[in-house]
């Protein structure tokens, strides 16, 4: 990216709260001058923390924030040419509207053109680029009045100067908060879920107005929201975040059409997500059928690789039975005004489809998808990996539990004695206690149970993604701070406490360091 065009860049920014909770993890981003950037993610994904670090309310634990190439990470907020529109407006209740908007102007210093800076000999003092420097002065009362009037005009609240904050509606307070920030002509305007407290109609209106304002002012906007529609409507660039990390950066179209992973696809818009297998001849197998995949994806994936497949409902083509790639049964039909939304079942897999055509419920139809509309994404991984070690009795200990595994596979030529000790043919014993191993447990090798006595392994469900015919559930064990990802056909609730049962032979163990 052209460095001159970059107004702010975050480099390896991390924020850790109370030495244990990582809110933002290694955040790298360059933002162009005049861009409308949106941080989008579910609550708790670190988007507001990132915004607060740019504003200066929080200091990064490590990393740098560069504004026009200058490191501002440790500069206090009042020295930054950045203003914020707060979520709950944060208007000064003890001041009237005029004084609220003029608040920042009273601290603003501008060049006093009548007082060019001169050195002792009377030569003009020049700046870095050879321009004349001037003494600084405060804004005059008239200038402040004019600016306040302009700002009120911009947010369509002329004549509100004398009003008290408490007499304004939520939408009006929001506009004042915006006016109060932009009146200072900041280089960057930060907006922290500014429309979250407004009703739907007002929100839609303000979205368009904010977009128009951005165009008119040419200021860089950094916008934080959890509303994907809002992000898609307003932004030039969307930064999708989850768990303190950037998942994807791109234009709204890129994010929607080419989500990088299942999280982004699931979070942005509606979609059906399946597990597919890459096949020969640029084909992909999912839903029990072979689909032609996007020529652009050719060669990006290994043969037989397990991948996530994302299909947007509007990309599904519904046709008569046996005319599509797969047959499906329509189980539900909802009229949405512009189109019908169908939930169809392909075997045990659910596929959401939209169509303007009318099909009967319970009927069998054919489904197909154009190759370029089949989004294929690398699966982050298909197994859980842990570090573990072997115990005396040839069990493996990892993530706070002991598990059985086929120890003889690890040590060919050995057998187990009656005492459970490894012995080879020559009668030599082998002490395996404490050997470092890596442990792999497949997503399918774990089962969830709500019986607390079903196993020693417990945890809380912290995330769940629906993948067509099953759920991918993330279970977190607090004691050992480990996550277990489990494929399950059943619907659980986030926050449930569950037991994890490892299926027979589900634990794969590899020795570390080639021993």
């Amino acid at each position: 990216m052209n460095a001159e065009n970059t107004i702010i860049s975050l480099k390896n920014v991390c924020k850790v709260f109370d030495k244990s909770f990582t809110a933002v993890d290694n955040f790298n981003l360059d933002i162009k001058r005049g861009e409308f950037v949106t941080f989008l993610g579910p609550s708790g994904c670190g988007k507001t923390t990132t915004l607060r670090m740019i504003a200066g309310f929080d200091m990064p634990t490590s990393g740098q924030i560069l504004l026009n190439g200058q490191d501002i990470s440790l500069i206090p907020p009042y020295k930054r040419p950045i203003n914020t529109v707060f979520q709950r407006y944060a208007l000064f209740t003890h001041l009237n509207i005029y004084k609220n908007i003029a608040f920042g102007l009273q601290y603003k210093r501008v060049d006093d053109l009548s007082k060019p800076l001169k050195d002792k000999e009377g030569n003009p003092i020049l700046g870095e680029n050879g321009e004349q420097l001037y003494a600084k002065r405060k804004l005059t009362k008239e200038e402040i009045r004019a600016k306040v009037k302009y700002a009120l005009n911009l947010v369509d609240l002329e004549g509100f100067e004398k009003r008290a904050v408490s007499t304004l509606s939520g939408g009006q307070q929001q506009r004042i908060a915006i006016a109060r920030a932009i009146v200072n002509e900041p280089e960057i305007l930060l907006l922290d879920e500014p429309l979250g407290a407004l009703d739907l109609k007002m929100r839609k209106e303000m979205q368009l107005e904010l977009k128009a304002m951005h165009k008119k002012l040419g200021i860089t906007f950094i916008y934080v929201t959890h509303d994907q529609e809002e992000a898609l409507t307003m932004s030039d660039t969307i930064v999708v975040m989850s768990d303190g990390e950037i998942q994807q950066v791109g234009t709204p179209k890129e994010i929607y059409d080419e989500p990088k992973n299942a999280f982004v696809a699931d979070f942005i818009g509606e979609s059906s997500i399946f597990t597919g297998t890459v096949q020969k001849g640029n084909k992909i197998k999912f839903l029990g059928a072979s689909f032609d995949s996007d020529p652009a994806d050719e060669g990006k994936f290994a043969l037989n690789e397990k991948v996530d497949v994302v299909i947007r409902p509007e990309d599904v083509i519904i046709s008569a039975k046996d005319k599509g790639t797969v047959n499906a049964k329509i189980v539900s039909k909802i009229f949405k005004g512009m189109h019908y939304e169908y939930i169809t079942m392909v075997g045990k897999n659910e596929m959401i489809a939209q169509s303007t055509k009318n099909f009967e419920e319970e009927s069998i139809v054919g489904l197909s998808v154009d190759p370029e509309n089949i989004q294929i994404m690398k699966k982050p991984f298909t197994s859980n990996y842990y570090d573990g070690h072997l115990t005396k009795h040839c069990h493996v200990s990892f993530a706070g539990i002991h598990a059985n595994f086929d120890v003889l596979k690890l040590f060919p030529g050995y057998r187990l004695s009656e005492e459970g000790i490894l012995i080879n043919d020559k009668g030599e014993e082998r002490d395996v206690e404490g050997l470092q191993v890596s442990v792999e447990v497949g997503f399918d090798d774990l089962e969830l149970s709500d019986d607390p006595n079903a196993s020693d392994l417990h945890g809380e469900i912290i995330n769940m993604i629906y993948l067509g015919d099953h759920y991918e559930v993330t279970v977190w064990n607090q004691d050992v701070d480990e996550e277990f990802i489990v494929n399950t056909p059943d619907l659980w609730n986030i926050g449930d406490n569950v037991s994890l049962v490892i299926k027979e032979g589900g634990v794969e163990v590899k020795l570390k360091g080639g021993r």
């Binding site: 309310f57 206090p76 907020p77 944060a90 003890h94 920042g104 904050v165």
Partner: protein, 276 residues
């Protein structure tokens, strides 16, 4: 129809019985507040020997040499009260700010540390203060004002801390951040947002210290060697010497002063509301 009628009748009965619940307070009010005040007015406006209406008692307080003493006493009372109030708020404000900040005061233990002195009887506290001051070389007889104010501030500081602490707990953090965001330095943030937001706390802290310090005299008596005379002391003195009528006049003066300070307080809180 019938049903609603009985219902309303029953409700009426409930109201009737509830009325009696305020009886104890009514009796208390009459016995210990209204009756004594009437008694004070009676004594103030009656002749000690004949019991007839007279303004003699007021004349004796506000005429000639005695008026000098009277105004001196009123002046000293107001002076001690005002000084104590101002010092209390100046000390209590930063303390309350620190106490309300969870960074420094994690589970509010520190608050109890500052309120602990209130658990000890204040006469004992004052006697102890006197000994402590003497130990540090501050003899109440030599420095009556310094010692009195130290004693008063020490005794009434918790009353200033509590209301300020309560207001600061409820400070809108986002307004403080907004001020910093808009270019106000930490000092300007304090003056422009934190102080205005804590005005209600300051007003009630001022009332909580000003009113009791106006009428108290035990602390000043003990810590000034009886050289600083306050209205409270004057009333005690008159009543102890069976001058019920003159004592009542002083009591009315004090009543008036406290009434005035209440008016002031209301004025300030009204103005606060008007400015919103």
């Amino acid at each position: 129809m019938e049903a609603t009628k009985t219902l309303s009748r029953n409700q009426g009965k409930v109201h009737e019985t509830r009325k009696w619940l305020c009886m104890p307070y009514g009796i208390f009010l009459i016995l210990f507040i209204i009756f004594p005040i009437l008694l004070i007015f009676y004594y103030a406006f009656s002749d000690p020997t004949t019991g007839l209406f007279t303004l003699k008692n007021f004349k004796s307080v506000f005429e000639g040499d005695s008026s000098v003493t009277t105004f001196k006493v009123i002046g000293q009372s107001l002076g001690v009260a005002a000084l104590t109030t101002v010092i209390c708020i100046l000390i209590a404000y930063p303390i309350a700010y620190i106490l309300a900040n969870s960074k420094w005061n994690k589970n509010a233990v520190l608050v109890y540390l500052f309120l602990l002195p209130m658990w000890i009887n204040f006469v004992i506290r004052t006697v102890a203060t006197k000994q402590l001051l003497i130990f540090f070389g501050l003899d109440p007889a030599m420095h009556p004002w310094v010692c009195s104010i130290i004693g008063m501030v020490y005794n009434y500081l918790p009353f200033a801390i509590l209301p300020l602490y309560n207001t600061m707990l409820k400070l809108d953090k986002s307004q403080i951040e907004a001020a910093a965001d808009l270019g106000a330095s930490p000092v300007q943030v304090f003056i422009k947002t934190i102080v205005p937001m804590t005005v209600p706390g300051i007003v009630s802290a001022a009332t909580m210290t000003f009113m009791p310090t106006m009428s108290s005299y035990v602390i000043t008596d003990a810590l000034s060697g009886r050289t600083i005379k306050l209205i409270g002391g004057q009333i005690e003195h008159q009543f102890l010497h069976s001058q019920l009528n003159v004592g009542s006049v002083y009591a009315i003066i004090m009543l008036a002063l406290i009434g005035l300070s209440v008016v002031f307080e209301n004025f300030f809180s009204e103005k606060k509301k008007g400015g919103r």
